[in-house]
């Protein structure tokens, strides 16, 4: 596939969410996170207010004690804090639509690495359930990288990959 098909223009409406970050956005912005491998991209969207949130989660659980680096790379911190942030912006807990993508096993044949994507997906789903939310749509697993875009006007989650091109969930 031509690589330019996946390249991102410098669109000012695109809010890029980095690895281990969370962010919220309003219409007409688009929340984007690039190159999810074993990580999980979680999106929340409120259809009444057309606002949304996104997290790029790298690991299931934060370590006990002190740690350095971005706190939102851990599912147990990122998920509840993203939900809180959405509620603070006025989103309704029971209106919010949660979707997830990512959690791939990028390198086949390494036993240690195969499971991390799956464990990330499980952890994000568990944390959502603790917040009273269930996953409405998911595109997880496989062995391919994904870039995702959450569109605020429609709540559509666009999943792009070299393997499958574009998918909407």
């Amino acid at each position: 596939m031509d690589t330019s098909a996946l390249e991102m223009g410098a669109d000012p409406l695109h809010v890029i969410v980095g690895v281990g970050e969370i962010a919220c956005a309003h219409e007409p912005e688009v929340l984007v996170t690039q190159a999810l491998g074993s990580c999980i991209g979680l999106t929340l969207w409120d259809p009444r207010l057309c606002i949304g949130g996104m997290a790029h989660v790298m690991l299931p659980a934060s370590p006990a004690g002190d740690f350095t680096g971005r706190r939102h790379r851990f599912a147990d911190l990122a998920v509840p804090e993203l939900v809180e942030e959405m509620l603070r912006l006025g989103a309704g807990r029971h209106r919010m639509i949660a979707k997830i993508a990512g959690g791939a096993a990028m390198f086949k044949g390494d036993s240690g690495m195969d499971t991390i994507g799956k464990r990330n997906a499980t952890a994000v789903i568990e944390q959502l359930e603790k917040c009273g939310l269930t996953v409405r749509a998911a595109d997880t697993g496989g062995s391919h990288a994904r870039t995702i875009e959450l569109h605020m006007n429609s709540g559509v989650l666009l999943v792009r990959s070299y393997t499958f091109g574009m998918r909407e969930i």
């Binding site: 996946l6 190159a35 999810l36 990028m106 390494d110 240690g112 690495m113 994904r146 070299y162």
Partner: protein, 203 residues
């Protein structure tokens, strides 16, 4: 010990070992393919994990990668990465044919690149192991062709690495006509790095 606290002398020592390893890998590859191939390690740098995708032009750029987990005294990972067109050029270099002959990165190309990367990594580990008197064994290599950001992220999260930096050995393969650049990342566990530097006499 953290990688980003390394002194210039320690970096020089590790780069020197990298050159020795590259020399051995070049000999091995030349034997394998039946014509002379050289490998240089022009620089060794400390890079932030988050900055790695930018080396290739962004997180979504398509790169070929080979990963091995390290077993033995020194735990950690090694990751070989080459931008897709460089990976194809490397395949052509191994076949002693004009760059541009390999057009798609299929199973044969992936197998050859995995073999090349695995020889390079084994030679590096053997050189480090001999000088530092430590055992470092590569586990079975695994490979992928996908977005640079996703591949690096998978390696670091699988190891749940405390470190957010890696040692980068820029690696240049060449014969009389062609030169191809690739990247070799060494991600030792922090406690393993202490042991390694101590044994090298540069702790």
């Amino acid at each position: 010990m953290r990688l980003d606290k390394l002194t210039e002398m320690q970096i020089d020592a590790l780069r020197e070992i990298g050159s020795i390893g590259a020399g051995h890998a070049a000999t091995a590859l030349s034997q394998l393919v039946g014509h002379p191939i050289s490998i240089d390690v022009p620089t060794l740098e400390i890079v932030g994990i988050g900055d790695v995708p930018e080396l290739f032009g962004g997180p979504e750029v398509l790169v070929a990668a080979v990963h091995v987990r390290l077993l033995g005294d020194i735990g950690g990972s090694m990751l070989f990465m080459a931008e897709r067109t460089s990976a194809l050029a490397l395949v052509d270099l191994m076949h002693a044919r004009a760059v541009g002959s390999a057009r798609s990165y299929g199973a044969d190309e992936e197998a050859l690149l995995t073999h090349v990367a695995s020889i390079l990594m084994s030679a590096y580990l053997a050189a480090v192991g001999r000088l530092a008197d430590v055992s470092m064994l590569p586990a079975r290599p695994s490979s992928a062709l996908d977005m640079a950001g996703a591949l690096m992220e998978a390696v670091t999260s699988a190891a749940a690495l405390h470190a957010d930096v890696a040692l980068l050995l820029r690696t240049r393969f060449h014969d009389a006509d062609t030169s191809v650049d690739a990247y070799l990342f060494f991600l030792p566990d922090p406690e393993a790095l202490d042991l390694l530097l101590g044994r090298l006499g540069v702790a």
